[in-house]
Symmetry: C2
Subunit: 122 residues, 2 copies
Amino acid sequence: MVIYSKMNTETYNTIPLNLAPLLGALSHPARLQIMLHLSKFNGCQANSISNKLPLAKSTVSEHLNKLKEVGLISCTNEGTCSNYRISEEGYKLLKIYFNEFIGAVEKWQGKQKVCCTEDDNI
Amino acid sequence: MVIYSKMNTETYNTIPLNLAPLLGALSHPARLQIMLHLSKFNGCQANSISNKLPLAKSTVSEHLNKLKEVGLISCTNEGTCSNYRISEEGYKLLKIYFNEFIGAVEKWQGKQKVCCTEDDNI
DNA sequence: ATCATTGTTCGTTTCTTTACGAACATTAAA
DNA sequence: TTTAATGTTCGTAAAGAAACGAACAATGAT
């Protein structure tokens, strides 16, 4: 997963830089499905997830890691048993950043300018 | 852009299948930035966008196409001038599907079950 | 009719993602 | 102390994404 926050912030503003990695982590059906599954349980084994997806357990482990990398889920280990769950903080950030994006998109609704000949900053 | 709606719906439910392609299209900072830019204008040239991104115009054209493929933007041509804008329908679907996802995740808040030893369906 | 502008498509390269099974590590049970 | 169960990591292969410049098409201007 590429972390765009290391990119030049003069090129992209903060909304794209914050949001893109989170959306990337969620842009695969299996990972969305994992999020939905984890939302139903207080901690969940990797095994129990991989049993319900048509994917090898190593693949599921990598999907879980991708969600963990961006902070959307967390994991503790108790014995041989893993315990994945949605990270409240990461999940909250997802909603905040997404809503910032939505807010920014809708900010100009009804008062857009014609762009074709103008030179406004992006 | 992979369209997951052709996948087996017995494997993934509709929220992941609907939402994943849209999030994939938005999972790149340049494409998020393009959406923000288009939100400010009633139609915008590809050229004016590519002038404001550190990317070749062919690359921008491909980013625009990726957004178009999933229905988030549309384009008309008037002479040599292109006219990209946010598609109301696609944008609305993005919000609907994303909120469905959020709603599904939060449906079980406060009443989650422990998963480790259970065999619940995903 | 030629030239400039705009935009897309194509070929290529590089890098990333997805997926798998094998191998490995760790803990728990027999 | 083997053996089983759980998970991660590794090597590998295949597919896809990202980026570029060159080439191309189409319209508009000179």
